[in-house]
Symmetry: C2
């Protein structure tokens, strides 16, 4: 080993070693992407401005111009979250990665975390908590319901967790959680999942005393999946930066990521290669949100959700969430109508309208149909269209149960 | 809590709670992305076909057409890796996330892992190993050198690890590791990092008996960062699917990801929202590699690297890696010329040529300059251009040391 091998030698070894896998035939066809109206719980369609940004030529992830774009993203997330937190950034992964980033950075092995569980997101958070050796306590509600301050206070007193996890927009059940007052109840850190609600329902990170908040890019923001906004307040930073053990993930370690996103004055160091085009897209998506204005966007989503709900009820369908005040404006859940297979309905609408609506997820599989009207997809015209498609489906789908 | 709140109430609470953060002014400017020729160690420039794919409108991550695209990506990675492994997929993150996915899925707490460390990637792998509670053993070489079979055999006998990690293309030092023979030495699993080498230097996963191999998208593939190819052979699957403990990461858990990527016949279940546009782009990047042909691409990178090396030596510069057979074809390292600050040189070339070349990374900071010629950027014209830029820089950059 050492001196012997010039390329010819390497190549001859290679040839000798031999190719075992030919170029695949399936890649000889052009990339084929059908046109779809995405009215499920996400992802939603991408706006053309965001699309254009995501298709740009890149620059280096450590160029000053990239840091400027990251600073703009940080400012955009601060606006979307209504926070002045300095530790505000986008995770290089999906909303799920942001959930993991929050839990992995805050919790140390043996520490107690209380998880409000009324759908799939609480289940996932509990799973992550267990994997990293935290003591996971659960506050459970039937899917379709939300938590009262009394529920939460009682559980916090009982379990004395260092962290309390709750979901703002429970997209698997269609429930929006009222967050007012929770922040002042707790001594522990409050972690809120707003993947399905951000931009579509009122949320004030600072005023609601949320310590850690994260979201996704592919819902109301109409941005490709692949980045996930997250923010930590000073209390959360105190916890994170005074850990005794390193987080189990280096990829999601806030010690590194805080530096990369300019949390302090020290020069930014290479940690990983950021998803550059996804960050371009996220920057534009946040710019659009800022232009539209949060309050206008919240109002739009609420009004169109109510319009959709009325149309669905006029069809004779039953909304899964009984209490109007608990209905998530971005994602509507319908009880699967009696005598139908949910999959027949979603398949019919996909086949005949090229529209995605979906069935349930986790605890709501088989129980609900889900319709999302988010961002640019949140229009009365889309509500009308999906109502018409549902009417058509109900008429044509063979009743397989009775 | 419960019945009281219709939207008007929620809104009035919100208004009462009050906005504290106005829309940021920085987002009122259009997105500004300068034109750059990326001749650093990565990312490289994106080809126009890949760019176009990354700028497309999306479909749902669970649509059959998306699974078809994922199947095509799998076939493309199998070709690029020269493997028939069924568990072959793209991680939803950077190459760094793929490194973490490999280690987190294979290793359980207390198990021994041997890390070949001759640059920054070994350091990172060791860091991850320690975070997840593995017993990390290190086989260390001076940056700029590679490992002999004897080195490796001795260390394997001594440490008896369950996993051996080695880097094929050490982009921080510019070293390519000869992998021939390592696979037949070991009883443990062999994990290879090919982020900086894939497509640019000969690599045969199956014939070289590599058990786990991963790479990145943003180097020779000329694809935006955000996805990372990875593959596990049957031996690795045996280890992964017979763990006693769950991996510390749910986001990177191969139990879930194997299902999402069609490893077995069971229906694909939602795990996380894939980075859809990045997958479109990766599909096209792999299609281009298949069209070009691996052997042609390897030859192209080797020839242009040698052409660049000659030009650099003609300028009086010294290559950091003395042994020609150990020079990585994709990333060339130059010893920082005496009397110069490396940063003056990279800044001069960026300012006057809009070309990125970089300094060192990790153990090579301050020691080297790094030039990457990868994929579409791997041309004699680019080699000439960067040589001219360097000549210019050497003439103009003030000597700050002597």
């Amino acid at each position: 080993c050492g001196k012997i091998l010039a390329f010819d030698t390497v190549r001859s070894m290679s040839v000798q070693t031999g190719f075992t896998v030919p170029p695949p035939k399936s890649l000889q066809q052009p990339l084929s992407v059908p046109k779809r109206l995405l009215l499920g719980p996400g992802p939603s369609n991408i706006s053309s401005r965001v699309q254009e940004a995501g298709g740009r030529q890149i620059i280096g992830h450590m160029h000053p111009e990239m840091f400027q774009i990251m600073d703009q993203i940080k400012a955009g997330i601060q606006y979307a979250f209504q926070t002045t937190n300095n530790l505000t950034l986008a995770i290089s992964g999906s909303g799920h990665a942001a959930m993991e980033a929050a839990l992995v950075n805050v919790l140390e092995p043996g520490e107690a975390v209380l998880i409000a569980m009324n759908g799939v997101w609480g289940e996932r958070a509990a799973d992550i908590g267990e994997r990293i050796g935290a003591k996971v306590q659960k506050l459970v509600k039937t899917p379709g319901e939300s938590f009262s301050l009394q529920d939460i206070e009682k559980a916090l007193v009982q379990h004395k967790p260092v962290l309390f996890f709750i979901t703002h927009g429970e997209s698997s059940t269609g429930v929006v959680q009222n967050l007012d007052g929770i922040g002042s109840l707790h001594n522990c850190l409050l972690l809120v999942d707003s993947v399905a609600s951000l931009g579509g329902a009122p949320l004030f990170m600072d005023n609601q005393e949320i310590d850690i908040l994260y979201s996704g890019s592919q819902k109301v923001l109409n941005c490709p999946p692949g980045t996930a906004p997250i923010s930590f307040n000073e209390r959360a930073c105190q916890k994170i930066f005074n850990r005794k053990t390193k987080p189990t993930s280096l990829y999601l370690d806030m010690g590194w990521l805080s530096n990369l996103w300019g949390y302090d004055e020290s020069p930014r160091k290479y940690h990983h290669t950021s998803p550059i085009t996804c960050l371009f897209a996220l920057r534009e998506a946040l710019a659009i949100l800022a232009e539209q204005g949060l309050e206008n966007y919240w109002k739009l989503h609420q009004e169109n959700a109510e319009y959709l709900h009325k149309g669905l009820e006029d069809l004779g369908l039953k909304l899964f969430v009984k209490d109007k005040s608990m209905r998530l404006p971005t994602v509507t859940t319908i009880a699967v109508p009696e005598g139908y297979e949910w999959k027949d309905i979603t398949n019919f609408i996909m086949k005949n309208y090229q529209i995605e609506i979906t069935g349930g997820l986790g605890p709501t599989i088989g129980m609900v149909l889900r319709i999302g009207l988010m961002g640019i997809n949140c229009t009365k015209a889309n509500a009308d269209l999906v109502i018409r498609a549902l009417k058509d489906a109900l008429e044509h789908c063979k009743k397989s149960k009775h």
